[in-house]
């Protein structure tokens, strides 16, 4: 039996420019939105890995960031709030030979969709999850999100947020994602490099892109993100989760936002394990069902 085609085998099949992957649809985002930087980085990555547009499935949930697939030439699904992850999991398992990229926001991924995050990570679904983390709900006009700073005033928190934010990076390291990185969305070079490595990575890659919201977030501005983001020393052992966690925690303790690649390990993907199962039982599409039905004869 031939080894199944993995999406990573299908890179470098075409030579296109990043503009060739851009759908002819005008931008949805406010002028100066960090999400435009994410789109630029993503399109650049697609050109670099040379994937045919029809071999990409771009899947999102609901929110400002979840509009991104509309601007990318690909097969795509614009699903429900918080559900991009499981929809993408189903699509990826159905077609392991196609690239699957999820884009979504901090509210979409870590509030309403928070219950799905650990399972994509631990199951090691072979796809890339790009969190466009602007620490605020934009589409509903300015409420605090699970990553908002505690002091942030939102429309539903006029006296300031009363909750501590969660850290998507520590979360993903804890739940077993096999590729974890972070960048400032305005740093297209680092962001596109991480997306590229994430897509090349066989397994669940999580990339947090800190993306400023010029309309509803006055705290985490582009200027602040840029000043606080410090690229991590690439010297640390990216295969040791404890070291990765320590590096991230140390940087945070010093008031810096760590960026770069924190963690990358290889482990069998969910679709590989499913394929193994089929091989183990000698499964094939033409298997005679009468053998199954005969088991129910009295």
């Amino acid at each position: 039996m031939n080894a199944p085609v993995k999406v990573q085998d299908r890179f470098h099949e075409v030579q296109l420019e990043s503009k060739d992957y851009r759908e002819d649809l005008s931008s949805f985002w406010c002028p100066g939105c960090g999400h435009s930087g994410v789109l630029t980085s993503f399109l650049r990555t697609l050109a670099e890995i040379g994937i045919k547009p029809e071999n990409l499935m771009s899947i999102s949930g609901i929110g400002c960031s979840s509009r991104l697939p509309y601007f990318v030439k690909s097969y795509k699904m614009h699903t429900l709030h918080g559900r991009a992850g499981p929809v993408a999991t189903g699509a990826q398992l159905a077609r392991p030979d196609l690239a699957v990229v999820v884009t979504g926001g901090d509210g979409d991924g870590f509030s309403i969709g928070g219950g799905h995050m650990p399972h994509m990570a631990r199951k090691n679904v072979n796809m890339t999850y790009i969190l466009m983390d602007n620490h605020v709900y934009g589409l509903t006009k300015g409420q605090t999100s699970p990553t908002s700073h505690r002091v942030m005033k939102g429309s539903v928190t006029p006296f300031g947020a009363v909750e501590e934010p969660l850290d998507p990076i520590m979360y993903m390291l804890t739940y077993g994602a096999t590729f974890v990185g972070q960048a400032f969305a305005g740093n297209v070079k680092l962001a596109s490099q991480l997306i590229k490595e994430g897509m090349e990575h066989k397994g669940f890659s999580f990339i947090n892109l800190l993306s400023h919201c010029p309309t509803y977030n006055e705290i985490n501005t582009a200027k602040v993100f840029k000043a606080d983001c410090e690229k991590l020393d690439v010297g640390h052992d990216v295969t040791d989760v404890n070291v990765a966690m320590q590096v991230v925690q140390n940087a945070k303790a010093e008031g810096r936002i760590p960026t770069g690649l924190f963690y990358r390990v290889e482990r069998p993907t969910l679709d590989e394990r499913m394929a193994e199962l089929v091989t183990k039982v000698g499964g094939h599409k033409e298997y005679d069902l009468r053998k199954v039905i005969d088991l129910a004869r009295p």
Partner: protein, 572 residues
């Protein structure tokens, strides 16, 4: 007195082999050529608790679990206490003696004490208590012995000769003990008619749904464990890898239906199975399936609700949520099964309709049917028609939601050059581009709903049981159909003018067929196992019929006798 139709109930402590005895007798009867229908209740406890297995075997077709047992076999005092109120003069009672209880046997009951526990102990095989009981039952009630031996031998074969022999010895001891008794009751299983062409399988409703899915060509299955639906996933998990397919256990029901949609978009036939609480969670994604025209099959094995409700009990109370669950004006197809044979056939139909109409299809079963085993004709996979979604031919520009006469727009699998598009929950133009224009919304809603008008033509005509005019027409759905079939036979035998109407397509409701049935009936009775009268509500809303509801929600199905009684009261 009934002839050739016997109902045996076996009760005892969970783990004592009650279920095995029931299964063995059921298999043996089916093997010998009898029609079988079983009904079980499981203890809510993980271990121990009262377990009950009722089996009905007949030389004639059986449609339900029957009114009440003819023979009660109890392994302990708890089982006796649970059933003693139902023991009536003429019934036979087989009980463990000496056991943990001394029954105060009602007058007229034929009692047969059998030292089940003691004999098993004497044989140094305490686990074989149930085999002693089975041996006694076989002699007392003419259960086909040769078949019973074959079933016993083949079921224990993988545990080795010693286990087979140990159980056979206990079985034979039970037979000897029964032969020494003086049989006073009239009960015996009839001798099956010889039919050389008879070819049957014995399956539970849940397994049959799994088999139907395999026959339909399911390629992707995702589910979350929930009583009483889990066995569907268990069956599919065992066999789907043989067909190269994928089954995944999701983190919750929202994830399972989401994964199903993702897989279906990616070109695979996909399904999930759940019960009411899971169906409630799936509502939003069912809306997305309708809006984005993504085929999917959702099996709902109903249980007692609302909320956590009565997880292990029988109820038909999810019709409202199946038909209207979710927000906005949201279409779907709802099918409902009567019996195990339907579980196979209508699951295939559900896939065919989902593929053809590109919409969610909900298949409704229930907690009794889930575990009921029945003998059904061998379901030859080649005898089923399989429908696959219409796919784009690759010519011209591709518009995913192209307006067509049928309302059905060809789909395309990801990876196909030229077919790129977005599947979105936002209202969209025929091309798939988001559009909030009022006029477009009207056009697209009409497209999605109009296509469903043809569904009625793809489902067999609703069965009408009986001819001519009737004083009472009985409409019902799901497992209650089998109960009504028998009630109507009995009523007719007594000269009553009654007819039955057994819809399996519950949404869109085949309104004209309802109207036609109603024309010949003076009054209409609609029994269903829920509090609100859910099907009656839809019949009143969508047809000119005015059914009289008969609802129960005590955790058990109707019996034929209950329907007979109600009809007689109506006509008194």
């Amino acid at each position: 007195m009934k002839k050739n139709d016997l109902i045996i109930r076996v009760g005892g402590e969970g783990g004592e082999g009650v279920i095995s005895v029931g299964d063995f007798i059921t298999q043996a009867c089916a093997r010998a050529g009898l029609d079988v229908y079983t009904f079980k209740t499981f203890p809510a406890e993980i271990k121990g608790g009262y377990a009950m297995y009722q089996l009905r075997a007949s030389t004639e077709p059986v449609y339900n679990q029957g009114d009440i047992f003819d023979v009660l076999c109890v392994f302990n005092g708890e089982a006796y206490e649970n059933n003693k109120a139902r023991l009536k003069p003429g019934h036979a009672l087989v009980y463990d003696c000496p056991g943990d209880f001394t029954p105060d046997i009602p007058e007229g009951v034929h009692a047969y004490p059998i030292p089940m526990t003691q004999t098993a102990k004497e044989l140094n095989n305490v686990r074989a208590k149930n085999m002693v009981a089975m041996g006694a039952l076989s002699v007392l009630f003419n259960i086909p012995e040769a078949s019973l031996r074959e079933v016993l031998t083949s079921k224990f074969a993988r545990k080795g000769d010693a286990v087979v022999q140990g159980n056979l010895t206990a079985f034979e001891r039970g037979q000897e003990l029964a032969r020494a008794l003086n049989k006073t009751d009239p009960w015996a299983i009839g001798t099956p008619k010889a039919d050389p062409n008879r070819d049957v399988v014995v399956m539970s409703g849940n397994n049959a749904i799994g088999l139907g899915a395999l026959i339909a060509g399911v390629e992707f299955f995702s589910a979350y464990p929930i009583t009483p639906a889990t066995e569907v996933a268990i069956y599919v998990a065992k066999h789907l890898p043989k067909r190269g397919g994928t089954l995944i256990q999701a983190e919750d029901e929202i994830a399972s239906i989401s994964q199903v949609l993702g897989a279906s978009y990616a070109g695979k036939k996909a399904m999930t199975s759940t019960s009411g609480p899971g169906l409630a969670l799936m509502g939003e994604m069912i809306g997305m399936a309708f809006m984005s025209e993504t085929p999917c099959v959702i099996v709902d094995v109903q249980r007692g609700g609302p909320s956590t409700g009565l997880p292990t009990k029988h109820e038909q109370s999810d019709l409202f949520i199946a038909v209207h669950g979710g927000h906005g004006d949201c279409g779907r197809i709802v099918l409902s099964v009567e019996n195990v044979q339907d579980c196979v056939a209508l699951t295939v139909t559900a896939f065919n309709l989902a593929e053809k109409y590109q919409c969610p299809v909900i298949l409704m079963s229930d907690g009794s049917l889930a575990f009921s085993t029945q003998s059904i004709p061998y379901p030859d996979p080649a005898s089923f028609t399989i429908v696959n979604r219409e796919r784009w031919d690759g010519n011209g520009e591709y518009n995913r939601y192209k307006l067509t006469d049928s309302g059905i727009s060809p789909m395309v699998d990801p990876g196909t050059p030229g077919g790129m598009h977005i599947a979105t929950g936002l209202e969209h133009s025929p091309k798939g581009t988001p559009s909030y224009a009022g006029e477009n919304h009207e056009i697209m809603q009409a497209k999605r709903f109009n296509k469903l008008k043809a569904v009625v033509n793809d489902v067999p005509l609703t069965e009408v049981d009986g001819e001519g005019d009737a004083d009472i027409g009985i409409i019902t759905w799901g497992g209650t159909i089998g109960v009504v079939r028998e009630a109507i036979q009995r009523l007719r035998a007594e000269g009553y003018k009654v007819k039955g109407f057994y819809p399996k397509l519950l949404h869109p409701l085949p309104v004209e067929q309802f109207e036609d049935f109603g024309k010949g009936c003076k009054r209409i009775l609609l029994p269903e196992v829920n509090y609100l009268g859910q099907l009656a509500h839809f019949v009143r809303a969508e047809t000119t019929l005015r059914p009289e509801s008969y609802t129960i929600c005590g955790g058990l199905p109707f019996t034929p006798e209950m329907i007979v009684k109600r009809v007689k009261e109506m006509l008194a």
